[in-house]
């Protein structure tokens, strides 16, 4: 029985093919070949080239890393959408923090917290009042000035 192969990323289904004879993937512990009747397997894969053999024809695909699952002659690759550049994420995360920090000056005192809570309570009340007024007058939300 031939294999069914799916490659999915968090964003979309990238590749789906039935009747595959053999899959060669860059496993974390070295290259691995999956043939029909393979035991259930879940392995991490490294960025590299994956070869899919179907009817004597080879298809090479660039893989960015992720996981490979084999189960009941179905091979699913949970691929990372792109190579995981964790440093970039860290840099962007730091930027987001700094943007926020510019406004927030180390306020952790009890008094500050109480003041913030009170301010929040007031805002909540205002929202509630606005909501009620809108319901009562039957005015539907729309742009101002119409």
């Amino acid at each position: 029985m031939p294999l069914k192969v799916d490659i999915v990323t968090a964003e979309r289904l990238v590749y789906s093919e039935e009747g595959v004879d053999e899959v060669v993937a860059p496993g974390i512990d070295g290259e691995l070949t999956v043939l029909p009747m393979h035991a259930p397997l879940l392995t991490m894969i490294k960025p590299g080239i994956m070869r899919i053999v179907k009817g004597g024809q080879d298809t090479d695909m660039a893989i960015t890393g992720g996981f490979l699952e084999v189960r009941d002659d179905r091979v699913t690759i949970l691929a990372d959408a792109a190579e995981r550049a964790d440093e970039i994420d860290v840099v962007r995360a730091e930027e987001a923090r700094r943007r926020a920090e510019r406004v927030l000056e180390e306020r952790v005192s009890e008094e500050e917290l109480a003041r913030a809570a009170a301010s929040l309570q007031r805002a909540l009340l205002r929202l509630k009042v606005a909501e009620r007024r809108r319901r009562r007058t039957g005015l539907r939300p729309g742009p101002p000035g119409v």
Binding site: E11, I28, L42, E69, A81, A93, L120, V146
Partner: protein, 291 residues
């Protein structure tokens, strides 16, 4: 009635007409953006599903592991501080959606007895939290209508860092759940610690894990958190666009109604003006006849 009023009414009608054109265009744009966001959300579903299966399978042995040996993202602690990711639109004209998101978040903060740190994803939420003096620890503005996975990951990065560093003992996600075109509901979802799904559909497969169970779990968990966040943000975008679509449709309807009323007023005023002119003329003729 004087000609001046007539001109004023005509000008008014024309300005309402152009407003209606704009709101109608915004409605159409929002509708197409909403469809796009829905398609994006659907496209990522196979990945999310698979990941849930695998995690459910991995989780079965978790109760056997010593609490200290658990992966950091799974660790449950006494809750002394929390963090929320508040997903809101950047722009207004989306009906009551931004304010109902902020209201839900405010309620959440007030209900807990512990300090809550805010990670704002969206301008409306950030502005609100800042105005009310909350602790906004990171902000992500201009995520856009069609964000890639890459753009969402830094948000997950922030909360995972804070969680593992002990700055927050629980992390919640507050976003607009898409129910249908007219209904969007603020939803609160616990993101961290990760609670592995308990699904029976995995049908218990004895996987061989390479390089090992723990290593796979350690790699999988951050991606699981990212994927959940990504899915929620796509849903929030669909919600935002559909809220905007409905708001703009209402605005267009209101404008059209107003235009109808004003046209009536205009015609009436025009007829009155004609009548009074006629009266003037006939009055003049009568007066001349009398001589």
């Amino acid at each position: 009635m004087a000609m001046g009023t007539l001109r004023q009414i005509r000008r008014r009608i024309r300005s309402i007409q152009s407003t209606a054109k704009i709101t109608r265009a915004m409605e159409l744009v929002a509708a197409s953006k909403m469809r796009r966001a829905q398609l994006n959300a659907l496209a990522g579903r196979p990945y999310a599903e698979k990941m849930r299966w695998v995690l459910a399978d991995l989780a079965e042995t978790l109760p056997l592991i010593e609490p200290e040996a658990l992966h950091p993202l799974l660790q449950r602690r006494e809750v002394k501080a929390m963090e929320i990711i508040l997903v809101t639109p950047d722009r207004g004209l989306a009906g009551g959606l931004p304010s109902s998101m902020n209201r839900r978040a405010a309620q959440f903060i007030l209900e807990r007895g512990v300090p809550v740190r805010v990670v704002a994803a969206g301008r409306k939420g950030r502005d609100f939290m800042r105005r009310t003096g909350q602790q906004v620890v990171a902000e992500f503005i201009a995520i856009g209508d069609n964000p890639g996975y890459e753009e969402i990951r830094p948000i997950a990065q922030v909360v995972m860092q804070d969680f593992t560093a002990g700055l927050a003992d629980e992390v919640y996600l507050i976003y607009a759940e898409y129910v249908n075109t007219v209904t969007q509901r603020p939803q609160v979802f616990k993101l961290l610690p990760v609670e592995p799904p308990a699904e029976a559909e995995t049908a218990r497969v004895d996987y061989i894990y390479e390089p090992g169970r723990e290593a796979v779990l350690a790699e999988l968990l951050p991606r699981y958190v990212e994927r959940q966040l990504y899915g929620a943000i796509l849903e929030a975008i669909a919600s935002e666009q559909s809220a905007r679509m409905v708001a703009m449709r209402n605005a267009t309807d209101n404008a059209n109604e107003l235009m109808r009323d004003l046209t009536l007023v205009y015609n009436k005023a025009r007829q009155e003006a004609i009548t009074s002119e006629l009266l003037d003329i006939t009055g003049g003729v009568e007066a001349l006849k009398g001589k």
